[in-house]
């Protein structure tokens, strides 16, 4: 359908539209008009993504100059695929003259088609395998030698030849390209899909990639450096964006890292000796360049780019590298001293927490390395590695970690802390020293994004309380709004279960979680539900260790065997491959009618981006409240920072964080208004007002008072009722005054109504 919002013709790929989608578009358009940032919360299951994509695409078509580009950031690759699929649907509804180019971007691991590089298992080894074939000095060597003597990548060579005659030669025809499409295209044309995509994002109208390509300076530095200001940046499912931001600037150092770094330094010393003997001029040239103040070697070849500086672009010193680390040997000895110093710090017996200022002072006094040298560590290392023509970057990750750490600690004095723990709190008898540089200030990493781009849209199904995010991220949204959901029928049914079938309270509180009575009551709950609910059921637990424990207990008690009589059981594990296969099987089991249960973890990978809509999830059970591990030093330090800077109370933040996770987990069951699902919060703490009230409004509005304090048998009764009610046919468009589905005519009428008012 096609309709007008003010003066913009909006192309929408469906015949009908939900009223909240329309409102969402209206708000979004205002934000774009104002060229400001906005914060929008809309419940899951109301087609947020398609509303976003269709409005921004239509807006770009309506205002062709300056060309507006959409940078759409998703948290995961599978969400990227979903977004691209929606974009493809939208594209088939755009007028044919206005076709645009949209593509997804990912790492080499996901885009490479070269069988040699692909045979490597991990991402880092694929990256370094690619460098081994495509680095500029490798290619130069290959050009000198007879063909075949030095292996190169045929796909990259073909692409490079095609691209050398100008960017138009490799410009992709308009359309939507998923990662799979890019790979297929690469195979067909013999071009390298990764570098093709890297090149194409400059010309594309829509780029879909992961958060880190904008937020993590290491990656953003190479990928997103050239994006113009006329960009609309969307962070979808952004309820966790503060965590991503602080993670992007956090580094930890372990004993293994230091050992690895020592080995790396040793090898680099050997390389330097070798170069001295054979090709001393190279080292001298590097020195001269550094004297002239160029940390980087001018225009770097596309393939030589490595992970960029971990500090944010604005904070990188535009000065010459200090004199005492210009010479390779001197730099190596500085690094050696640093590693030695860190080794000494790791030998502590007590937990130590330090501010960066103190740490830098201590480094300076004990190892003789001043702050400026620390700040340049990363750039100097990068330059040295290029000079030494090191291709197997995956071997040098350890020393790179050390340099990242040094650069960050030398750059930032505020919002960070250094925590040294001799062992894990949970396993005090196993020595596992770790030195962590943790960032507490989420606004640091996202600041350049807000500054650079004209509109940043942060949206998710759960952004409650919505006033907290501008404070955490330190920005001023022009629009900040939370939408409710208009429903034709009560298609979600949240319940709070506080007691088991024996009327004893259930909870994952620390003192109760290992109580066999609670474990059994949770098991009975699952067993009853498995027998009553058709198709898929998803269970979320508070942590991996808790899930392992309770599943083992259920196995011993025989509850798991009884569950298996009704449904197949799949579990999320730490191994992503296995989890992916388990998910795939889970879907197949739901498709074929066998029915299945999926056990997952509230802060795990599955909870982040996998939908359990329609028959893939008719019920989701949240076992416990997913609080963070409150004894973690990092968390304590962060809470302290939040209290001092934003006056946010510890308890409030912890509850907010736990409840947004819980809401996110249960929100995965519903996708559209035709869908339906139940949500059980199985913990007595949910019945308390201070916890419950932190849930997003669209859940709270369906949470009836009668459902606040249930036992297993009552919940079962309600579930049966609900399922029976949902099985009845209903009127999709909604009746009476409140329409829940708008057609084109309705929208036109609404438009006229508005006209009349003015």
């Amino acid at each position: 359908m096609k309709f007008l919002i003010d003066d913009v013709t909006v192309y929408f790929p469906y015949d009908y539209i939900y009223p909240e989608q329309y409102e969402y578009m209206v708000e979004l358009k205002r934000a774009l008009d104002a060229r400001g940032h906005c914060l929008l919360e809309m419940p899951t299951g109301t087609g947020k993504t398609v509303a976003l994509l269709s409005l921004i695409s239509s807006y770009a078509l309506a205002r062709p100059s300056p060309p507006l580009k959409l940078l759409y950031c998703t948290r995961t690759v599978h969400e990227m695929e979903k977004t691209l699929a929606e974009l493809r649907l939208l594209h088939s509804h755009l007028p044919p003259t206005h076709r645009s180019l949209a593509l997804g971007l990912s790492s080499r691991k996901n885009l490479c088609v070269n069988p040699i590089a692909l045979s490597s298992a991990s991402r880092d080894s694929v990256d370094s395998a690619c460098r081994r074939l495509t680095a500029s000095w490798v290619r130069a060597a290959a050009a000198e030698q007879p063909p075949g003597a030095v292996p190169t990548c045929p796909f990259f060579e073909a692409y490079d030849r095609a691209a050398s005659s100008g960017p138009d030669a490799v410009l992709l025809p308009p359309g939507v390209y998923t990662l799979g499409d890019l790979r297929a295209l690469g195979r067909e044309k013999g071009w390298c899909p990764y570098f093709l995509a890297r090149q194409m994002i400059r010309y594309a109208n829509v780029v879909v990639y992961s958060y880190q390509y904008l937020l993590d300076p290491k990656v953003a530095g190479i990928i997103s450096r050239e994006m113009q200001r006329e960009c609309v940046v969307v962070f979808d499912e952004a309820h966790n964006i503060d965590n991503v931001c602080i993670e992007a600037l956090s580094v930890s150092v372990r004993r293994q890292t230091l050992d690895g770094a020592t080995r790396n330094l040793h090898r680099m010393a050997q390389e330097i000796d070798r170069f001295k003997a054979t090709d001393a001029s190279r080292l001298r040239a590097e020195y001269n360049r550094l004297v002239e103040g160029l940390a980087q070697r001018g225009n770097l070849a596309l393939t030589d780019a490595w992970l960029a500086n971990p500090a944010l672009p604005d904070d990188i010193l535009k000065e010459a590298v200090p004199g005492n680390i210009r010479r390779a040997e001197h730099f190596l000895s500085v690094l050696r001293r640093l590693v030695q110093y860190l080794k000494g710090r790791l030998q502590t017996e007590n937990v130590e927490t330090e501010r960066p200022v103190d740490f830098v002072a201590s480094v300076s006094s004990q190892a003789g390395i001043d702050q400026k040298m620390l700040r340049f560590c990363y750039d100097r290392l990068h330059s040295l590695m290029l000079t030494l023509e090191i291709t197997d970057t995956d071997e040098f990750l350890h020393i790179q970690t050390i340099c990242d750490f040094a650069t960050l600690v030398g750059t930032y004095m505020q919002g960070f802390s250094i925590i040294i723990e001799p062992f894990d709190e949970r396993m005090p008898h196993i020595p596992d020293p770790v030195l962590q540089l943790s960032c507490h200030d989420a606004s640091l990493a996202i600041k350049p994004v807000f500054d650079r781009f004209q509109s940043v849209i942060i949206t998710s199904g759960t952004l409650s309380p919505i006033d907290l995010y501008p404070r955490l991220l330190n920005f001023n949204p022009v629009i900040s709004r939370s939408f409710t959901m208009s429903l034709t029928r009560d298609c979600i049914c949240p319940m709070v279960l506080t007691r088991g079938s024996d009327q004893l309270p259930v909870s994952t509180k620390f003192d109760m979680r290992s109580d066999p009575g609670v474990v059994r009551n949770y098991g009975r709950l699952l067993l009853e539900m498995v027998a009553a609910v058709p198709d898929g059921i998803v269970c979320f637990f508070v942590s991996y260790s808790y899930m392992d424990g309770i599943v083992n207990s259920w196995n011993e008690m025989g509850i798991l065997q009884d569950v298996m009589q009704h449904k197949l059981v799949f579990i999320e594990t730490q191994d992503v491959v296995e989890t992916t296969l388990a998910l795939d099987n889970y879907r197949r089991a739901c498709d074929c009618g066998r029915g299945a249960v999926f056990f997952s973890v509230a802060r795990g990978k599955v909870a982040e981006g996998i939908d359990f809509d329609r028959h893939y999830g008719r019920l989701v059970i949240m076992f416990g409240v997913p609080f963070q591990y409150t004894l973690s030093r990092i968390l304590i330090a962060r809470l302290e920072y939040l209290r001092n800077t934003f006056q946010i109370k510890e308890g409030d933040f912890l509850t907010f964080d736990a409840l947004r996770q819980a809401a996110q987990c249960v929100g995965r069951v519903i996708r559209s208004k035709a869908d339906y699902g139940m949500m059980i919060f199985a913990d007595k703490r949910y019945s308390r007002h201070d916890k419950r009230s932190k849930l997003p409004g669209w859940i709270l509005s369906h949470l009836r008072d009668a459902h606040l304090n249930l036992s297993t048998d009552m919940a079962l009764h309600i579930a049966r009722e609900f399922l029976r009610r949902m099985a009845q046919p209903y009127d999709k468009a909604g009746t009476g005054g409140r329409k829940t589905l708008l057609s084109q005519e309705d929208l036109e009428k609404m438009g006229e109504g508005v006209m009349d008012m003015f």
Binding site: K109, Q212, E247, V576
Partner: protein
């Protein structure tokens, strides 16, 4: 077959002590002579009256043999023997005699002039004792069928084979059903064998059944491969499983040090404890065809925030860090996932579970076939893409998809719709009976008059008294009910049923029985035409006689019923009689033709 003499005790009930005596069995009959000559419990029974035999299991308390008579007559002859070998001799003898007898019985009724044929028939019948049992079972389950069988087969109108020939579908259907549907894997995790301890010694017992072994093979390809490699060339099957159980036990006790030590000493044992490399390969292959919208591995490959030692430590990431141990730490979650995957895949094995070796080999074959089939990739890819795009669409924002559907097949529309209407009518009658005006009944005027009277009365007296007089109400209600049930009849919803319901039970049963008998006979009758063999000719003769009998009986019933039902009964009987008349007419014309032909024939042949 000789005669068997065996000491046994005769009982009428299992619980009784029994009367000691001698059981004498010949081919025709069995005789029981009690040891105590005064006892009246002498038996002399013809095998003809024995329909089957049951016996207690070997090793159970008593060695019993139960010769059952017709189920209708009830009871049987129970003999207890001193030991099982004696019982088994008798049991086998009885089995043979009964089998032969049944065949003989059918062959006797095969009044065929050619002697070879019945022999062949006997042979054929005898070949399939399971078939026989199956037929017996069908008869037992369906009393109607049993009645027919008794009437015609035992009564000699039809032979056994003729009787069943028209019910081929019944036989085949069942046979096919049992063969076609394969049971999948059990949902229970059988492969997770739990050890049993006796509590006194340190001995631990694992018990494996063929079913469990099959599941172990399916879920643990490494064990399967090891079995194919080692057994029987390197070790016996028993040793293999002992070793497997030992490894399982080590795994179960979570004693990783002991496990490592054992694995170092014994390389075969190590196979069971190590990571399953076949599974790992399979996973790598499968991950490529996984739906991209849930491919979390790709996500891991894109995540530069969590470079080693970057980002914040996540829950549980530590455990994976030091799992580089050679002795894999197989977790329950992995087992659960694997089990569910195997159950979902289903079992494509058509080998009887039993011999482990054949099962293992068959499994290997089926796996190879599967990996062959998976090579065609392009199509599945297309399908996957289509599914992804389907999944992204929001279903209620657009016109519904016209899904391919199979139209509802109603076998007997009349029955189906009648039933619905009857139901509707019933519901209607329940709720609306009270409010329905009696507009076309005889009592309209009466009711009107009565109502007027009532109203005028009420006007005088006020509302204190009941509005309606009880007698009048009852009368109206009765009239109403009669009207309702009679409409049911008049509308012709299911006249047979409602009429039959009114008939006395005896008459009703009789009619129903006649009706089924006639159907059976007519089916055989019409299927016999055109008559090509003498056998068919005889059959038709027999059928005609039987039909004539029933015709007669029908007439009798019709006349014998009470006068008030006579009309209805004759209405019911009418179609049956007509059908029979048609058959007779056909018979007569055929007979006439035949006669004419045979009359002409000699002339033709002479020339």
């Amino acid at each position: 077959m000789a005669v068997i003499n065996m000491a046994a005790k005769y009982k009428t009930m299992v619980k009784e002590p029994g009367i000691p005596g001698v059981l004498k069995m010949s081919e025709e009959k069995f005789i029981f002579i009690p040891n105590d000559p005064r006892s009246a419990m002498k038996l002399n029974v013809d095998f003809r009256s024995i329909k089957g035999h049951k016996f207690s299991k070997d090793g159970s308390k008593q060695a019993l043999l139960n010769l059952t008579q017709d189920s209708e007559k009830g009871g049987g002859y129970i003999f207890e023997f001193d030991n099982f070998s004696n019982r088994n001799v008798c049991r086998d003898f009885v089995g043979k005699v009964l089998g032969k007898f049944q065949a003989l019985m059918s062959s006797k009724q095969n009044e065929q002039p050619v002697p070879e044929k019945p022999a062949a028939a006997i042979h054929g019948e005898q070949l399939s004792t399971t078939e026989m049992e199956h037929r017996m079972k069908l008869l037992r389950e369906d009393s109607e069928l049993q009645k027919l069988h008794k009437q015609f087969v035992i009564g000699g109108v039809l032979t056994e084979s003729e009787f069943w020939a028209t019910r081929k579908s019944l036989l085949d259907d069942d046979a096919q059903r049992t063969s076609k549907q394969q049971a999948g894997f059990k949902s229970a995790m059988l492969a997770d064998v739990r050890p049993l301890t006796d509590g006194r010694t340190n001995k631990v017992t694992f018990s494996l059944t063929p079913e469990i072994i099959h599941q172990i093979f399916a879920e643990k390809p490494a064990v399967h491969r090891a079995f194919l490699n080692f057994v029987p060339s390197k070790m016996t099957e028993k040793d293999f499983w002992t070793k497997y159980c030992r490894a399982e036990y080590l795994h179960r006790t979570k004693n990783s040090v002991a496990a490592a030590a054992e694995a170092a000493n014994d390389e075969e044992l190590a196979v069971f404890l190590k990571n399953d490399d076949i599974l790992a390969n399979e996973a790598r292959r499968k991950i490529r065809r996984v739906d991209p919208t849930l491919d979390m591995e790709a996500d891991l490959g894109d995540d530069y925030i969590h470079l080693p030692d970057h980002g914040l430590p996540q829950d549980g990431s530590k455990e994976t860090a030091d799992a580089e141990n050679d002795i894999a730490r197989r977790t329950l979650s992995q087992d659960l996932n694997r089990h569910a995957a195997v159950v979902l895949e289903g079992r494509a094995l058509d080998v009887e579970l039993g011999d482990t070796r054949t099962v293992a080999e068959a499994l290997a074959r089926s796996k190879r076939a599967v990996s062959f089939a998976e090579t065609s990739d392009e199509k599945t890819n297309q399908e996957r893409l289509k599914r992804v795009s389907r999944m992204t669409e929001i279903e209620d924002l657009q016109a519904p998809y016209s899904l391919p559907y199979a139209p509802l097949c109603i076998k007997d529309p009349r029955e189906y719709f009648d039933l619905q209407q009857a139901n509707a009518l019933k519901a209607f009658g329940d709720t609306d009976a009270g409010t329905k005006p009696i507009d076309c009944s005889l009592s309209t005027e009466e009711a009107y008059v009565h109502l007027m009277e009532q109203i005028s009365e009420m006007k005088v007296r006020g509302l204190n008294n009941p509005v309606v007089q009880p007698e009048a109400a009852l009368k109206v209600l009765n009239g109403l009910n009669q009207y309702l049930s009679s409409t049911k009849y008049h509308l012709g919803k299911n006249p047979q049923e409602s009429v039959l319901d009114r008939l006395p039970n005896r008459t009703k049963d009789e009619l129903m029985h006649h009706w089924t008998s006639i159907q059976e006979l007519l089916r055989h009758f019409w299927s016999s035409y055109p008559i090509t063999t003498a056998y068919l000719y005889n059959k038709v003769l027999r059928l005609k006689d039987a039909m004539a009998q029933i015709y007669h009986k029908l007439q009798e019933t019709k006349e014998s019923v009470q006068s008030d039902f006579r009309h209805q009964v004759s209405r019911l009987v009418q179609p049956m009689l007509q059908a029979l008349d048609a058959a007779f007419a056909h018979y007569d014309t055929e007979q006439q033709k035949r006669y004419n032909k045979s009359g002409n024939k000699p002339n033709g042949f002479v020339q």
